[in-house]
């Protein structure tokens, strides 16, 4: 076995196939990963900017507050007071940024990162998701990225096919097959060795190329993630080599083999995913967001009209919260807003199920069917590893909601007690 592998290698080296395959894999890997680092660096930069701006805001308020406490400064209006819970919790510049779960391997797949929001901003009266790519050219989004996942999912099978479509047929066409078969080896041994050689060649080159690119580009990742990535790539290779092996065993000649493998590639990468895609979206259609927009508006209008009822209900359920004594003018407006906002959120979540339910069903259907197409499986695996899959990114909304609760839990009591945030309390302002 090793004997055949060694000589396959010598032949590859001799006729430049080795150089071409290695060179292309190295170039494509380095290029796609480099593009990945550009993308993630940019996202990271924006992220750092936002966090810095937010830290500066609170740092400044803290300093102002200390100056006021020392009697060096006096705020002109209540809303300019640096310790006011509304100034710190909901006014312009305040609030905290919440990010979706980020993964070290995010360089490998752009996934949905240019479509779904990158981060969210949480304030007392409002949580909003922000998409860095909102102004990006839709033509670019439609064309997709040349990322490492694209290279692995779409191009690697072509390398596998190019190297293995004629493992036996080439021997036959060259005439060496008769001599080979007159030797004391079985045809099974020959083909096993050939498949093993090509598998090792591609696997080693891919790993070497990725390893070199990771080192040069300074991409760091956790070992378990890397092992998962490796396992995913190797499984994908195994699948394509199995397909090639099958076609080589049937063996209708080099040209026919190439044609059948090309057909299989098209089937798995173009036809099946497009078919699953269409099936999922026509079985569980997600309605247009136009409906959501008017619905959201209707909810808001409704709640505004019902504000008094809602307040009454709130106070009857929370008798301790009933405001006592003389209240500042702004109090009623903001207090109503905070109480109704929770109801709005609840109603909105109800309305959102019209979108989330078909979405979930679609994903479920795709998850069930993705084994029909290993490329689909690998793509979703890679996006998951990169943390750029739709599910992880949509998780942002949950993160925002969770943090919003913490944020409110900190500021609303202070607001209701009609006091300012103390300078010493600044450290306990919640961080996402």
């Amino acid at each position: 076995m090793w004997h055949i592998i060694t000589y396959e290698y010598r032949q590859f080296k001799a006729d430049k196939r080795f150089a071409i395959v290695t060179g292309l894999i190295f170039i494509l890997t380095a290029f796609s990963l480099y593009q990945g680092t550009l993308r993630t660096d940019q996202a990271q930069e924006i992220r750092n900017d936002r966090i810095a701006a937010q830290q500066e805001f609170y740092e400044q308020k803290h300093q102002e507050l200390i100056r006021i406490n020392q009697g060096e400064d006096e705020p002109e209006q209540w809303w300019r007071h640096p310790g006011h819970p509304l100034a710190l919790g909901t006014f312009r510049g305040s609030g905290k940024f919440v990010f979706p779960e980020s993964r070290a391997l995010s360089v490998i797949a752009a996934g949905h990162s240019d479509i779904l929001p990158d981060y969210g901003r949480v304030r007392l009266h409002l949580t909003e998701a922000v998409n860095n790519h909102a102004l990006e050219n839709p033509v670019l989004k439609a064309a997709g990225h040349f990322d490492y996942a694209f290279f692995l999912v779409w191009l690697i099978p072509l390398f596998v096919i190019a190297l293995s479509y004629n493992m036996i047929s080439a021997e036959k066409e060259r005439g060496t097959y008769t001599l080979l078969r007159s030797m004391p080896v079985t045809s099974g041994q020959i083909i096993r060795a050939k498949v093993m050689f090509r598998f090792l060649l591609i696997a080693i080159v891919i790993i070497a190329a990725a390893g070199a690119s990771f080192l040069i580009l300074g991409i760091r990742a956790q070992l378990p993630d890397l092992l998962m990535l490796l396992a995913a790539i190797l499984s994908y290779l195994v699948f394509w080599f199995a397909v090639c092996l099958l076609v080589n065993l049937i063996d209708l000649g080099s040209a026919a083999n190439a044609l059948s493998l090309g057909g299989i590639w098209i089937l798995f990468l173009l036809v099946v995913p497009a078919f699953i895609n269409t099936l999922a979206s026509s079985m569980y259609p997600v309605p247009s967001r136009a409906e959501w927009i008017v619905e959201q508006r209707a909810i808001q209008q409704q709640i505004e009209a019902d504000a008094d009822d809602i307040l009454d209900r709130f106070y009857s359920e929370h008798p301790g919260e009933v405001p006592q004594g003389e209240l500042p003018l702004y109090y009623e407006y903001w207090n109503t807003l905070f109480i109704t906002a929770a109801v709005v959120h609840e109603k909105e979540q109800e309305a959102l199920t019209a979108f989330k339910k078909p979405q979930r069903r679609q994903e479920k259907l795709i998850a069930a069917l993705r084994f029909l197409s290993p490329p689909v499986w690998l793509q979703s695996r890679l996006e998951r590893l990169a943390g750029t899959d739709a599910q992880t990114l949509r998780g942002l909304h949950d993160n925002m909601h969770t943090f919003h609760q913490e944020w409110k839990a900190f500021f609303i009591p202070i607001f209701r007690e009609l006091r300012f945030v103390e300078a010493s309390e600044f450290q306990s302002i919640p961080e996402p």
């Binding site: 936002r50 996934g111 839709p138 064309a143 040209a255 309605p287 247009s288 136009a290």
Partner: protein, 473 residues
């Protein structure tokens, strides 16, 4: 006209008819194509219903708002919804990646929100069964698989010399074989055109849609022609049929898969578009140097107010024959619009430059230019989206002007304090209706795409008339 190409064509067709995989492949693609029209039509039906309903509700919400100061109504705002075009059934273009709605409010221009892609599933980056995808990806493959051997096999089977001895020239052979591929492709286009025409008649579309549809078909027929000519030409130039296959598939991969993605990376590196918040910061910086209708402390605002008062010899705003806030709001709205327009145009210019890169890359990828042309005709390209945006923005400005004028005119004297406008007024305000441009070639780039595709077509035709003879053993 020489009859030999026709004889060759008929001979090739006879052979193709007996080739089970060609027949099966063509039937499969026709079936997928018709299915895509069916599912697309359903989606279109649902979507246009939803958008029409939303548009109606939005208007009702606007008209039904409680009595309030017109400027509060301006802040309350309304939504414009992007209409779905019939031809998006055939080519959704970039529609999935553009927002479906635009929030129209005072003082600012928003970004369209909620693209269908946001709600779309994991597979959004894989293909989607629609006519444009099938024409741009699967048709070339079928043409390649059917035609890659046509010329080269004559040499491989030594039929070539025999044909030469009968006086058949290379050019006649190439013409005959290309003709055979044209017939196969034509047969595949035919049921599609019939079914789609039926659908368009059923939908009672406007005459311009028919012109657009014709343009789309022209685009895809030209593109198919490019594929046919290149396939036959390559087949005549290579040494062996497997070389032909590898070469043609390589061209296909570069043209349909690699080039578009590469250009995406290049375009976003060469012409980076600012992120939404950064742009907002630029806009804010510009606005701060202008007139702000809300902030009385702003020095520009104060200067403007003083000048108005001086012009009317008024001591206080209440002495003026009109409502000063109404005027100030309108003036600041105009200023804000100018600032926003300027920044939006900058982004648009960046987008145009990026698209120009795609167009420039069409010299390696006829697919790119065909896709751009097709979505242009379908009205699902970036220009169509921009047209929607601009009309919606125009409407926003009209609406804001009406609101400000109302305030300026009626909130005078005793009415000034606590002035409100009721339903009667909001019902009269201008309403929004998107008008699709009548002209299909809305600009140079549009026509350019068709020209570029024609260049490819002609180049293919010229190549075809010089089939290779170099490797005739």
């Amino acid at each position: 006209m020489n009859r030999i190409p026709l004889i060759i064509c008929r001979h090739e067709l006879n052979m193709l008819r007996r080739n089970k995989s060609v027949v099966a492949g063509s039937l499969l693609i026709i079936a997928i194509l018709l299915m895509s029209v069916w599912t697309g039509a359903q989606y279109y039906g649902d979507l246009s219903e939803q958008h029409a309903a939303a548009e109606e509700t939005a208007r009702a919400q606007w008209e039904g708002q409680e009595a309030k100061n017109p400027h509060s109504a301006a802040h309350y705002g309304t939504h414009a919804f992007k209409p779905v075009t019939v031809l998006s059934v055939l080519d959704p273009g970039v529609d999935r990646y553009t927002g479906v709605s635009l929030f129209l409010e005072a003082h600012r221009q928003n970004v369209t929100g909620y693209s269908p892609a946001e709600d779309h599933n994991t597979l959004s980056r894989f293909g989607d069964l629609n006519a444009a995808f099938i024409f741009s990806f699967l048709f070339p493959l079928l043409i390649i698989f059917t035609g890659y051997r046509m010329m080269v096999q004559e040499r491989e089977t030594r039929m070539y010399h025999f044909m030469r001895s009968l006086g058949v020239t290379d050019r006649q052979q190439a013409a005959g074989k290309a003709l055979a591929l044209w017939v196969v492709t034509g047969v595949m286009f035919l049921p599609f055109i019939l079914v789609t025409s039926g659908f368009l008649i059923f939908q009672q579309v406007a005459p311009t849609e028919w012109i657009r549809f014709t343009g789309m078909m022209l685009t895809w027929v030209l593109y198919a022609g490019v594929c046919i000519h290149i396939t036959i030409w390559v087949s005549s130039r290579v040494r062996s049929s497997s070389n032909a296959l590898v070469l043609l598939l390589g061209v296909w991969i570069i043209s349909t898969l690699a080039a578009p993605r590469l250009i995406t990376n290049v375009a976003s590196a060469v012409y980076p578009v600012p992120d939404a918040i950064t742009l907002e910061q630029y806009v804010q910086a510009d606005l701060d140097s202008g007139i702000d209708g809300h902030n009385p402390l702003n020095q520009h605002t104060a200067a403007f107010r003083d000048s108005v008062m001086a012009a009317h010899n008024a001591e206080s705003p209440s002495d003026l024959p009109f409502n000063l806030s109404g005027l100030m709001l309108q003036v600041s709205e105009e200023y804000e619009k100018r600032v926003y327009d300027r920044h939006r145009r900058k982004v648009d210019t960046l987008h145009d430059r990026q698209v120009r890169l795609y167009r420039a890359a069409s010299f390696v990828s006829p697919t790119l230019v065909a896709q751009l042309a097709s979505m242009g005709f379908a009205g699902t390209d970036i220009h169509a989206h921009r047209d929607f945006y601009e009309q919606a923005e125009e409407y926003r400005f009209q609406l804001m002007t009406e609101l400000n004028e109302h305030l300026k005119k009626h909130a005078v004297g005793d009415d000034a304090y606590g002035f409100t406008a009721g339903n009667e007024f909001y019902k009269q305000t201008v309403s929004y209706r998107y008008e699709r441009p009548e002209t299909i070639f809305s600009g140079v780039p549009h026509a350019l795409q068709l020209v570029l595709l024609s260049v490819w077509f002609l180049a293919g035709l010229i190549c075809l008339s010089y089939p290779g003879t170099a490797h005739s053993d």
